[in-house]
């Protein structure tokens, strides 16, 4: 009988590390790794590091290897722990606690829109309906695994529903160096193409060096339309702006992957709470990191949201 693999603390070894624009792409082989959902994360701590706590990083990709997997992380070097991770060499060892949190629930996100009076046949699985993926900076990290999962859905080994929507990726970056990170999506988009699914990709940069000159939310404003589903990951201001835009459009639902400082990642410390729309505090590591727009932001003032 095959043993059910559970989330656990495991020892991983770096097998590959390269630059991806301003970020680093770190591949870690982890024996016994339990398969993850897109949007889940792991707590990483480099063996022998002077950092006291592990840090949360989104699972960017996952390929089975033996009785485990090779995991990919996309790391923005913003402080001591992330710099240390971004500069690891093959052979380096780190502890990996995961997969953790509730990722993107594709059953829910891809569920057909409820037919409201109108001709149900026209609504069901209409190919014009899109799954709009909005990434800001290193918020691109969870989406390679999301694309791979979509491509493998409906029988491709991963338990995901058949994707009835066309993915449209909108990626915002600061400058050209950051924008080179868009390469991390390449494998995922190719796998989608091989699975007979098209996808679109548009970039925006703050300095106009690549793609659209301006915020990624401006691209979203032009692209999003009634019936779309939106998943987003990026800076809090971007997420709120995405919600501010989308909540006014009929039949658009949004999911956000959110961040907080974490100590444990498993619900022990109460450190990672954020205020929800209803005023309560929720642990990002347990309730999230992916939350619905209504849960996370609710009825926030529109102009506040769009800045």
């Amino acid at each position: 009988m095959p043993t059910v693999r559970q989330p656990a603390l495991r020892l991983g070894e770096v097998v590959f590390c390269c630059e991806a624009g301003a970020f680093s792409r770190v591949r870690v082989e982890v024996p016994g790794w339990a398969p993850a959902r897109p949007g889940q994360f792991a707590m990483l701590h480099v063996e022998g590091s002077a950092r006291f706590l592990a840090r949360p990083f989104s699972l960017s990709d996952e390929e089975p290897r033996g009785a485990g997997a090779v995991l990919t992380f996309v790391v923005a070097p913003v402080g001591p722990a992330s710099q240390e991770l971004a500069n690891l060499r093959p052979g380096a060892r780190l502890s990996v606690l995961g997969p953790l949190g509730r990722g993107f629930d594709l059953e829910e996100i891809l569920a057909p829109a409820p037919a409201r009076g109108a001709c149900p046949a026209a609504l069901a699985g209409s190919p014009r309906r899109r799954l709009v993926i909005v990434a800001g900076g290193v918020g691109i990290a969870p989406f390679p695994l999301l694309l791979r999962t979509l491509a493998q859905g409906g029988g491709g080994g991963r338990s995901a529903p058949v994707c009835t929507r066309t993915p449209l990726l909108l990626c915002g970056f600061r400058d050209q160096a950051q924008a080179e990170a868009v390469s991390v999506l390449q494998e995922g988009t190719e796998e989608l193409r091989r699975a007979g699914m098209g996808s679109g990709l548009l970039c925006a940069t703050d300095d106009g060096s690549v793609g659209f000159h301006g915020p990624v939310t401006e691209l979203l404003r032009r692209e999003v339309s009634s019936g779309d589903r939106v998943v987003a990951c990026g800076p809090p201001a971007m997420c709120r702006a995405v919600w501010g835009l989308c909540r006014g459009i009929s039949d658009v639902q949004c999911w956000f992957s959110l961040e907080a400082r974490m100590a444990c990642g498993v619900g022990s410390c109460h450190g990672c709470v954020i205020p929800l729309a209803d005023g309560s505090l929720a642990k990002v590591c347990r309730r999230g990191p992916v939350l619905r727009g209504e849960e996370a932001f609710g009825e926030v003032e529109h102009d506040l949201l769009t800045r």
Partner: protein
């Protein structure tokens, strides 16, 4: 690290020598612990860990006794975020004791925690002495109801029929049948709330009065632990007051009050403004507290503060602690206490010492 090749997990299994009755068995008042390693309150949620990492955590906890997060009389939201930030060799937190309140705790968590195969030490705090007493009374009713009372015929079926009356004869007092498996830790040391709690634990007279009052509702032989704050000039005076008041053991220390500024805005970074420092940065300070308190009191001590490696465990035991609690270092590895227990066994064998010989050895002449 304990590395089990079958699934690559850093195992949660208790290492050999740490089973009940083994050479690491240690006594904490009426509680028998299979080894001297437990968790520090608020740093390990066994029920949450079991949900995330598997029910193995409940079946075979990585601690010799489990200490849940502080419970207060009423439910609390806790402090606003951000609540955490790493600092040099440590962690600053201002969590602010969020919890569901003692009523919900007794209804929801307690029945599950009583099913654990190890003793339970419930941690209670209050904002006035009355709140401590009421919360502990509620807890005691729940325990009497679930586990029964000696010396009171009707108690097991109807605990409220045998209400405790303060000042009654010692002999007539119903004895808790659960004293050998459930203890109480009173948190008089949290620096992240604005009244009660640490303000009691910084004053020997208030500490004495509170422990006295709690002994009335939490009678002998049940374990009563006072968790002390290091944010005092003279921790020995508070420790002696707690012992005189009726504490059966002391836990030291809670976090050191501190401050972190946001590097950009230069305003306090944590939502609670100030916070409590824990982690390796505080270990020598905590070790000093255990060492000095051991010189003045006879009751068992639980050593807490920056425990990360077996060297830290050995140090706290040598300084006079009978039990050592893992706090923030357990965030990185929820099974750290079990691992350290295994390593402690090896250390004792290597030094040809028994656990009893190690405890307090730092005080021996020469």
């Amino acid at each position: 690290m304990i590395f089990s090749p079958d699934n690559g997990a850093l195992s949660s299994c208790l290492p050999p020598g740490t089973e009940p009755g083994g050479p690491l068995t240690t006594q904490l008042g009426p509680l028998t612990l299979a080894h001297p390693l437990i968790n520090a309150s608020g740093t390990f949620d066994l029920l949450e860990a079991a949900e995330v990492l598997g029910q193995e955590f409940v079946a075979r906890p990585p601690v010799a006794a489990y200490v849940p997060k502080t419970v207060t009389l009423h439910a609390r939201r806790g402090n606003e975020p951000p609540r955490l930030v790493e600092t040099a060799s440590g962690l600053m937190n201002s969590i602010g004791l969020p919890n569901q309140g003692v009523e919900e705790f007794c209804r929801h968590d307690l029945p599950r925690l009583l099913g654990l195969p190890c003793p339970l030490i419930v941690n209670v705090a209050g904002f006035t002495p009355e709140e401590y007493v009421l919360a502990v009374e509620r807890l005691r009713w729940a325990l009497d109801e679930a586990l029964g009372v000696y010396g009171s015929a009707c108690a097991a079926s109807s605990p409220s029929a045998a209400p405790y009356v303060a000042g009654r004869d010692e002999a007539a007092r119903p004895k808790p049948a659960w004293a050998w498996r459930v203890g109480l830790e009173v948190n008089i040391s949290c620096p992240n709330v604005h009244s009660g709690c640490m303000s009691i634990g910084t004053d020997p007279d208030e500490t004495f009065a509170l422990l006295r009052a709690l002994r009335e509702v939490w009678p002998e032989p049940a374990l009563l632990v006072a968790k002390l704050t290091p944010n005092v000039t003279d921790i020995q005076a508070v420790a002696e007051a707690a012992e005189r008041g009726g504490a059966g053991a002391l836990a030291l220390v809670n976090t050191f009050k501190g401050l972190v500024l946001d590097p950009v805005s230069l305003r306090p970074l944590l939502g609670g403004v100030t916070g409590g420092l824990s982690g390796p940065a505080i270990k020598p300070l905590a070790l000093r507290a255990v060492f000095e308190v051991r010189q003045r009191v006879g009751i068992p001590l639980i050593g807490i503060g920056g425990v990360e490696t077996v060297v830290d465990v050995v140090d706290f035991l040598a300084a006079g602690a009978s039990v050592v609690a893992v706090g923030a270092a357990g965030f990185r590895d929820p099974c750290l206490p079990a691992r350290l227990a295994g390593e402690l066994g090896e250390q004792l064998r290597r030094r040809s010492l028994s656990l009893a010989e190690l405890i307090g050895v730092a005080h021996a002449a020469g």
